[in-house]
């Protein structure tokens, strides 16, 4: 009986070893792996959600005062081009506000509203703008292009960062600019567009990613 029990134990042990190998492979959660496949999926997901090249025109209408025009502010340079392209419509008016001393100030200004065509490019997708010490979420933005993954170039060795296993994925992108964003005038007043368009296929981007129970997830922000 003793011999028989030992034999059963040995058989069970051998089977357990085999099963350990099989089951360990079977139960291994591949979503946790550091792999091209996973990071490709992570960046695809990130770009699908956040891969819009937007222009920090969150709130409309936009007003450009005579002083803004004289100073050549960003809006004063950009809005006339968008108007020429039919994306916004302008209307001259007098605008007013109250200064810190409670005094009412008025100024001649041009009010710009998105046209129906322009509204096609205002995406109601929350956009997080993060600087070193602050994070601001905007509910939507006016966008000029959409990025998709060209290829994952590589990734760094993951390390613990603030309690999370993190790394960065390096990738190149393809870009689909809105028709108006190919216009030379638009690219002149929005230099960011031309830089991103010219970098398609070659400009390497980094995206921070961290590991969750569901796999690797891109950091929330499309930081730029």
């Amino acid at each position: 009986m003793t011999r028989r029990t030992t034999a059963v134990r040995l058989a069970c042990g051998a089977a357990a070893l085999i099963s350990l190998t099989l089951f360990a492979a079977g139960c291994h959660d591949k979503s946790q792996d550091v792999s091209r496949e996973n990071f490709t999926a992570t960046i695809n997901d990130f770009l699908a959600k956040r891969g819009h090249l937007c222009l920090a025109k969150y709130d409309w209408p936009i007003y450009v005062t005579a002083d803004d025009m004289a100073a050549g502010t960003r809006d004063a340079v950009q809005m006339p081009v968008l108007e020429k392209l039919g994306l916004v419509s302008g209307q001259n008016m007098v605008v007013g506000r109250t200064d810190e001393a409670g005094k009412k100030i008025t100024a001649n200004a041009r009010q710009y509203q998105l046209t129906e065509e322009g509204k096609k490019y205002y995406l109601n997708i929350p956009e997080v703008v993060q600087t070193a010490t602050s994070k601001v979420t905007h509910p939507g933005d006016f966008c000029a292009a959409t990025l998709t993954l060209d290829k994952v170039v590589g990734w760094e060795r993951p390390a613990q960062v603030e309690g999370k296993l993190a790394t960065s994925v390096i990738y190149t992108y393809k870009i689909d600019p809105a028709p108006w964003a190919r216009n030379p005038d638009a690219q002149r007043v929005f230099p960011m567009i031309k830089r991103v368009v010219e970098g398609a296929g070659t400009m390497q981007l980094r995206e921070g990613v961290y590991l969750t129970a569901d796999g690797w997830v891109a950091d929330e922000v499309f930081q730029r």
Binding site: F23, R195, G201
Partner: protein
């Protein structure tokens, strides 16, 4: 019956074995790939010294700033090669109403930097000694241990009120006991010793942790003749241009690619200082996404080695360094003005703010600036005069999209005219080094004539970018190299 019982126990153990393994899979994922398309080898077993362990804690501690909101890692983000995580020219401070005055560099490949010296040895072992070494864009920090005090105490950066404030933070930190273990039980009784130990710990971390010098780029595979390191034809053309100081781009003259100090290699810097005449990063540039706030004051001019932040060679003083050039013998009154440190090019392709003032945001812009700084200054600097009714369209990479026909560009608009003799005229910017060895305008090196042909074609520039892409750490060779697409043929 007993046999049956054994069988039951056996099956139970199998189930436990199987699902127990799955539950701890996240641990395994740190070091394994499981992917046929490449993956990382197990991390090298690195045991950080106690001082380095303290440095690691300090590096990520946001309490080490006036607003308790900014750590070293905030601007030197490990996910971005220890560089800035965004494209801002300069980063905001712990006091968010403040902004820096210079672009944040990567902290990678820094530990081998020698202290600053006016007559520093060149790592190539051939080039005559010249200003080199040191930390910060102007070399004013001698070592990685003394460097942290500068951002820690700068009101526009981490904004700690005093060394004592930093010490107080450390004394109450979760790692205070580790700090004492590393630097002595009585270290907190001496505030100076504690503050100095903060620097020592941060230095130890940056020296010891391999993530600060991973050497994991495609170029490293290429240089080591390793599998996956074969450069594509486009990358190889870029490398040849990079190395060609006679008829190519000549980058290697300063971005030295050979064996370097302290056993390092391929850093793409010789640690020297050059005056390139980088455009002023201000609101004159149309659509400029990030003008430096300090530049709103016209009297603020950042001149690198000659100040105002660096104080060893103030212009017009007995310490200005005036005297005959060591190579050409030409007398130069203020030879240090306008010079900034040559940075490593490792991971440059994933940066999005370039030069000391972050005025450029893409490598395409940077290389075209080198190429046409002299031949087409209207692309890069504000212009005056000319016929404004006939604006001339500049190329898409230009900082200034148009210029009036016949206008005169205000070249080198961030360096006063009396110091512009220090401007580097090496390739591809100017006509190159003189027979006598002069590299600057004062030393007789000639600029390229306005509207003459630049040194490089756009194809050359594309190839150079393809090569610089190979300097990005973390490269994972694909199982099947691409046969088409950018940077391939």
């Amino acid at each position: 019956m007993r046999k049956l019982l054994f069988s039951g126990l056996c099956a139970l153990s199998l189930l436990l074995t199987a699902c127990g393994g799955g539950g701890s899979s996240s641990g395994a994922s740190q070091t394994t790939s499981g992917s046929p398309n490449g993956g990382l080898p197990p991390p090298a077993a690195v045991k950080l010294s106690l001082a380095a362990q303290v440095g690691q804690q300090l590096f990520f501690d946001k309490n080490l700033s006036g607003g308790k909101n900014m750590a070293c890692a905030t601007c030197h983000n490990p996910q971005f090669a220890y560089g800035p995580p965004n494209s801002l020219s300069v980063q905001l401070g712990s006091d968010p109403s403040q902004a820096g005055q210079r672009a944040v560099p990567s902290l990678r490949y820094k530990s081998m930097t020698p202290p600053y010296n006016d007559i520093a040895e060149n790592p190539d072992g051939i080039t005559q000694n010249a200003p080199g070494g040191g930390f910060m864009w102007d070399g004013r920090a001698t070592t990685l241990a003394t460097q942290p005090a500068l951002p820690l105490l700068n009101p526009i950066e981490m904004n700690n009120a005093s060394p004592a404030a930093v010490v107080q933070t450390v004394q109450t930190a979760s790692y205070a006991a580790l700090f004492q273990q590393a630097f002595g039980a009585g270290v907190f009784s001496d505030a100076n010793a504690t503050f100095n130990a903060v620097g020592t710990a941060l230095q130890a971390y940056q020296v010891e942790d391999p993530s600060f010098a991973p050497y994991s780029s495609k170029f490293d595979l290429f240089a080591g003749n390793k599998i996956g390191g074969a450069l594509t034809p486009a990358e190889m053309r870029g490398l040849q241009l990079f190395n060609d100081t006679d008829a190519g781009a000549g980058c290697v003259a300063c971005h030295y690619a050979g064996a370097n100090f302290n056993g390092s290699i391929g850093l793409m810097t010789d640690f020297t200082y050059q005056a390139l005449g980088v455009p002023r990063n201000d609101t004159q540039i149309p659509g400029n996404p990030n003008p430096i706030p300090a530049n709103a004051d016209a009297s603020f001019i950042d001149m690198g080695l000659c100040g105002p932040l660096a104080t060893i060679h103030p212009p017009g003083t007995a310490n200005s360094g005036a005297g005959p050039d060591a190579i050409t013998g030409v007398n130069v009154p203020d030879p240090y003005c306008g010079r900034f440190k040559v940075p490593t090019l490792r991971n440059v392709a994933t940066r999005s703010a370039f030069f000391h003032n972050g005025v450029f945001h893409s490598l395409t812009q940077v290389l075209n600036f080198y190429n046409t700084r002299d031949t087409n200054p209207e692309y890069w600097y504000p212009s005056t005069g000319g016929d404004s009714t006939h604006p001339v369209q500049n190329p898409e990479y230009a900082l200034y999209p148009t210029a009036a026909s016949g206008a005169t560009a205000q070249s080198f608009n961030d360096l006063p005219a009396q110091f512009q003799g220090n401007i580097d005229e090496e390739l591809p910017m100017g006509q190159g080094q003189t027979d006598a060895g002069g590299t600057t305008a004062a030393d007789g090196a000639k600029p390229r004539a306005i509207h003459s042909a630049p040194q490089m074609t756009q194809q050359n520039i594309s190839d150079l970018i393809c090569f610089m892409n190979t300097l990005t750490d973390g490269y994972q060779a694909p199982a099947t190299p691409p046969t088409s697409g950018a940077c391939v043929n």
